[in-house]
Amino acid sequence: MISIDPEVIKELTTKGIRVDHRAFDEYRKIKIETGIIEKAEGSARVEIGGTKVIAGVKMEIGEPFADRPDDGVLITNAEFLALAYHEFEEGPPRENSIELARVVDRGIRESKAIDLKKLCIENGKKVWMVFVDIDILDHDGNLIDAAALAAIAALLNTKFPKLDIIEEDGEKRYVIDYEQKTDPLPVTQKPIGVTAAKISGKILFDPNIAEESAVEGKISMGITDNMIASIQKSEPGGFSIEEIDHIAEIAMKKASEIRAMLG
């Protein structure tokens, strides 16, 4: 790995130049492939430039939360594989992977992308649990947008496995046949994550890994239907209200462009 000195990135940015010659609001090439893991109920592989992630959706039957007895359960998890970046190490999930998973989760949840009511099997007792697991395979910057895109692409690709409810001695048994896929998951929104970075006082989008080493701060927005459904600022460094508003404006546009790629 050749790494670029963050000071060089800052200088270039001041001059209005990005290290890979993109416009400040330009994304790298995005590739989306779905259905790549047959054993998952849904799956997608996303590349944004050199960043590669896979999201897989698995479904199980479980109990609802006591305060939402007729809602299904959505659980999002991200694994930074040790092979994705020279500094990742094994061990319990750390701050960055927890934040990543939680931001992607909120993007889906707050935009009401999935109709959780339709995941209820028996009120207060049995609901579908939807696990969105994201493997980071190669880290070339902007993991949040790649992970969020893989997550929604995998959810759109998801079909319920066949469920048989068998009554025996007054007790119900729930038997899932994972080999048979049935109806698609009720996905009603397509939230898109758009991330901006501030370098040398300038705002640019989709930072690559070299740019991330030079950022003052980043803001990720989850965009749905011309609304902002979630925001997360990360990294030290602050933003003015004007900067945040500018990010919101561009994010709306970018989100539409990226959403169109989901088909």
Partner: protein, 235 residues
């Protein structure tokens, strides 16, 4: 929409839309910590303690050119309606991270290479905006510890409840509201150093929310400065 959280233009606890809950700020409340702070916002109570700058443990986390700020946000087991199980959770780890990042811009970390500043934020009672109260207590604690700072960071939250933008949502407004948006604010540079949001807003609403949050933060800022002034006058 049936209006239950807004009655006659007032909120359930009688506040106006742009009113913070009663605040209480104090500096130097602990004996052992190098610096400490207390911040109460209604029923939300946070304390913060600082040790450092001091040697880094474990050593391999040490940085050659600047101090590291370590932050641990924790909710006391008895702070919540349903008992909070002890130990770090995914939520508390994320909040520890955003608190740390919110405070770093005002610290001269580069003045203390190879050292650590340890910040512990304990939420004694939780009724919304715990990360904000924690940041406010932490700012006071950092100043109380005599750690050089460019400014204090002041934090509060705004939200949308029954379509209405309001400052510092709490109680049922928190559990039944539509949008929750905490910020941390760096007054001297007019910068937002923490920003998170759950819920759906338009671009225009976002701007209004941020303007309102800034106003709230400036009141917090005043309370923090008052707390530090009182302590120094006492001494």
């Amino acid at each position: 929409m049936e209006q239950k959280l807004i009655v006659d233009g007032k909120r359930i606890d009688g506040r106006t839309f742009d009113q913070l809950r009663p605040m209480e700020a104090r500096a130097g409340i602990l004996k052992n910590a190098d610096g400490s702070g207390y911040f109460r916002l209604g029923r939300t109570i946070a304390i913060a303690g600082i040790f450092g700058p001091r040697q880094v443990h474990p050593r391999h986390m040490e940085e050659a050119e600047a101090a590291i700020l370590k932050c641990r946000y924790n909710m006391a087991s008895f702070s919540t309606t349903e008992r909070n199980r002890p130990g770090p959770s995914r939520r508390s780890k994320e909040i520890s991270k955003v608190i740390r990042e919110a405070l770093m811009p005002v610290l001269f970390l580069e003045e203390f290479p190879k050292s650590a500043i340890d910040l512990h934020v304990e939420i004694l009672q939780a009724d919304a905006s715990t990360r904000c109260a924690g940041i406010n207590a932490a700012s006071i604690a950092l100043a109380d510890a005599g750690i050089p700072m460019r400014d204090l960071i002041a934090s509060c939250s705004v939200g949308v409840v029954e379509g209405q933008i309001m400052l510092d949502i709490a109680g049922k407004e928190d559990t039944e509201g539509d949008v929750d948006l905490p910020i941390a604010y760096y007054p001297k540079r007019d910068l937002i150093t923490l920003l998170q949001m759950d819920g759906m807003v338009t671009r225009e609403q976002l701007k209004q929310l941020l303007e309102l949050a800034k106003k709230g933060a400036m009141q917090v800022y005043e309370a923090q400065r008052q707390a530090l002034r009182s302590k120094y006058l006492e001494e």
